[in-house]
C-alpha cells in the first residue's frame, strides 16, 4: 500500500498515529428523513479520501457535518479527538457553486484577502501572502480582476486560493469541479493533487464522478441512498494503491485503475 510522503514521514516519527478526523456513528436526519445512517470511519493525516454515491446518499451532508455546518442527529465527528460542533479556520471548505461563494464586489486579491482579514493577519503582511497563494494556483496575473471577469475554472481556483490562505490542516471539497467542463476539470484535478501533496493537506473530496474519485484518492468511500435496517449508508470502502504522482493518461491505463473502476462501477450499478 503506497502511502503519501507526509504520512510515511509521520509513521517514522514519534508522533502518535491518532486519526485527524474520526466519524463515530454519525447519523443525520433532515426534514424528517434519515439522510445518513450511523456511519463510522477514520481519516489519517495526509490522506486523500474521496466520497462517492448517487444523489441523495448524504455525501454532501456528511462533508458539512464534518465541517460543523450541519449538526449530527446521532454520533459525532471528532477532529483531534474533540467533537466538531461549529466551523473552524483549520477546516477549509470549497463549495461547488463557486460563483455564489465569491464576493462579486471584491477583486481576486480582495476575495483571497478575506480569509486573512478574518484570521486577523495585519494589513501590511497580507499582500505578500495573497500573492504567494495566487501564484500557487496560477492566478498571479489576475489579481485585480473581478470574479465576473473570470471563467468558471478560474473562479473555482480563486475559491481554492482563499481556502489555502486559511492555512488549513483539513480541506473539504464538495463536488468542486461538477460545474466545469471536462478539460478544465482534468487540469484542476491535477492542480489540486499537486497542491495537496505540496502543502501536506488532508482532503475529504465529494464527487459523483467515479473515475475522478479513483484518480485523486488514496481511499474511496462509496455511500448508498435510502439507508435503512440492513442497508447502511456506508456501503463500501476501496483502497487505491496506485502510486503518485498520477497523470491523466498513464494512470487511467494502469491495471489497478481499470480494476478498481470496474469494481466501483459494478458496485454502484448493483445498488440501483
Amino acid at each position: 500500500m503506497a502511502l503519501p510522503a507526509e504520512q510515511a514521514a509521520l509513521a517514522t516519527s514519534a508522533a502518535p498515529a491518532q486519526p485527524l478526523l474520526c466519524f463515530d456513528g454519525v447519523g443525520i436526519h433532515l426534514g424528517g428523513r434519515e439522510i445518513l445512517s450511523p456511519t463510522s470511519f477514520e481519516v489519517t493525516r495526509g490522506e486523500f479520501v474521496c466520497i462517492v454515491g448517487p444523489s441523495g446518499c448524504g455525501k454532501t451532508t456528511l462533508l458539512r457535518a464534518a465541517t460543523g455546518l450541519v449538526r449530527c442527529s446521532a454520533g459525532q465527528v471528532r477532529r483531534h479527538g474533540r467533537p466538531v460542533t461549529q466551523p473552524s479556520r483549520e477546516v477549509a471548505f470549497v463549495f461547488q457553486d463557486y460563483g455564489r461563494a465569491l464576493l462579486p464586489w471584491r477583486t481576486v486579491q480582495g476575495n483571497v484577502g478575506l480569509a486573512l482579514e478574518a484570521a486577523g493577519v495585519a494589513a501590511p503582511k497580507r499582500p505578500a501572502r495573497i500573492a504567494a497563494v495566487l501564484d500557487k494556483v496560477g492566478l498571479g496575473a489576475h489579481a485585480h480582476k473581478f470574479p465576473a471577469q473570470l471563467s468558471g475554472g478560474m473562479q473555482q481556483r480563486v475559491q481554492i486560493a482563499r481556502c489555502l490562505a486559511q492555512q488549513p490542516e483539513l480541506l473539504m471539497m464538495d463536488e468542486p469541479f461538477g460545474a466545469l467542463d471536462a478539460l478544465t476539470r482534468h487540469s484542476l484535478q491535477d492542480e489540486v493533487a499537486r497542491l495537496v501533496q505540496h502543502e501536506g493537506l488532508t482532503v475529504l473530496f465529494v464527487t459523483h464522478d467515479l473515475e475522478e474519485a479513483i484518480y485523486l484518492g488514496d481511499r474511496v468511500i462509496a455511500l448508498q441512498s435510502n439507508p435503512g435496517p440492513g442497508r447502511p449508508s456506508l456501503a463500501r470502502t476501496i483502497e487505491v494503491p496506485i502510486p503518485r504522482p498520477r497523470d491523466q493518461l498513464t494512470t487511467k491505463e494502469h491495471s489497478d485503475f481499470l480494476r478498481l473502476r470496474r469494481e466501483l462501477f459494478a458496485f454502484i450499478e448493483q445498488g440501483h
Binding site: P87, S88, L103, W105, A118, F146, A148
Partner: protein, 255 residues
C-alpha cells in the same frame, strides 16, 4: 435603466430629433395652434429664464427648492440606511415590521402634508420634515431588502472563515446591500423633489413650487414654463449626479 452607449452619429441624430421637437414647439406657439396664454414661445420662455436667473428671484427660488430637496434626501438616506440595516439583518424584526412597511409603501408622501401642517403649522421645517419622512421609505425598503437578501452561500463562507458579526455586516452585508440602497436613494431623490415642490405650493414657502403656482394664477405663461424648465433641470442634474456616483460605487457590476 441606463441609456445605451451612443455612437457620435446617433448622438447627433438624437440632438436633431430634440431640436425638431423644439421647432414644433416654436411653430405651435407662433402659429397660434395652441393659444400663447397656455403655450409661450420658446424665446419668451428663454427670456423669462434669463431674466429670472440674472436679476430676478428664480435663482434664489431654484436654490431654495434644491436645498430643501437635498437636505430632506440626506436626512432620509441616513435614517433609512441605519434603520434599514437594523431591520434587514434580523429575520424576526422583518417578520413583525415588513407587513406594516408594505402597507405604507404605496401611500403618497404628500398625503402626510396635512398631518404635518396640523402638528407643525405652516413653516419651512414642516415641509422639510415631510420631505425627509416621505423620502425615507424607498431607501428604508431598499436597504432592508439588500440586507435581507444575502446569498446563503456567503453566510456559510463567513461561518467557515469565522468572521465576526461586525465584520460580516461591514464586509459582506453592506456591499451586498449597496445596489439596493443606491436604487432606493435614487427613488428617494425623486420623491424628495416632488414633496418639496408640493410642500412649497400648499405652505406658501418661497421656492420654485410657489413661483410656478403664482405664475399660473397670474397667467404669466413664460414664467411658468421657465420654472418648469428649471425644475426639470434640477431633476435631471440630481439624477445624473447620483447615477454617476452609483456607477463609480458599483463598478464591479460591469467591470
Amino acid at each position: 435603466m441606463k441609456p445605451a452607449r451612443l455612437s457620435p452619429l446617433d448622438a447627433l441624430g438624437s440632438v436633431a430629433v430634440t431640436l425638431a421637437l423644439v421647432a414644433l414647439w416654436w411653430a405651435a406657439s407662433h402659429g397660434g395652434w395652441i393659444s400663447r396664454v397656455f403655450l409661450p414661445t420658446p424665446e419668451a420662455t428663454f427670456a423669462s429664464l434669463r431674466e429670472g436667473l440674472d436679476g430676478g428671484e428664480l435663482a434664489q427660488f431654484a436654490q431654495a427648492t434644491t436645498w430643501r430637496m437635498v437636505e430632506g434626501w440626506l436626512l432620509a438616506s441616513l435614517l433609512g440606511v441605519a434603520l434599514g440595516a437594523l431591520i434587514g439583518v434580523s429575520a424576526r424584526a422583518r417578520a413583525y415590521l415588513q407587513p406594516t412597511l408594505e402597507f405604507v409603501r404605496p401611500l403618497p408622501a404628500s398625503a402626510l402634508l396635512p398631518l404635518a401642517i396640523s402638528i407643525f403649522g405652516l413653516s419651512p421645517n414642516m415641509v422639510l420634515a415631510v420631505v425627509a419622512f416621505g423620502a425615507m421609505w424607498p431607501v428604508l425598503l431598499g436597504t432592508i431588502h439588500g440586507f435581507a437578501a444575502v446569498e446563503p452561500r456567503l453566510l456559510e463562507v463567513s461561518r467557515c472563515l469565522q468572521l465576526s458579526r461586525i465584520d460580516f455586516i461591514l464586509k459582506i452585508g453592506l456591499p451586498n446591500a449597496l445596489p439596493d440602497i443606491l436604487a432606493g436613494m435614487r427613488l428617494s431623490l425623486t420623491v424628495a423633489l416632488i414633496v418639496a415642490v408640493v410642500g412649497e405650493m400648499i405652505a406658501s414657502q418661497p421656492g420654485l413650487g410657489q413661483a410656478i403656482l403664482l405664475a399660473a394664477r397670474a397667467f404669466r405663461a413664460s414664467e411658468l414654463f421657465a420654472g418648469i424648465v428649471l425644475l426639470g433641470l434640477i431633476g435631471l442634474a440630481s439624477n445624473a449626479l447620483l447615477g454617476l456616483a452609483e456607477h463609480k460605487l458599483l463598478k464591479w457590476q460591469s467591470p
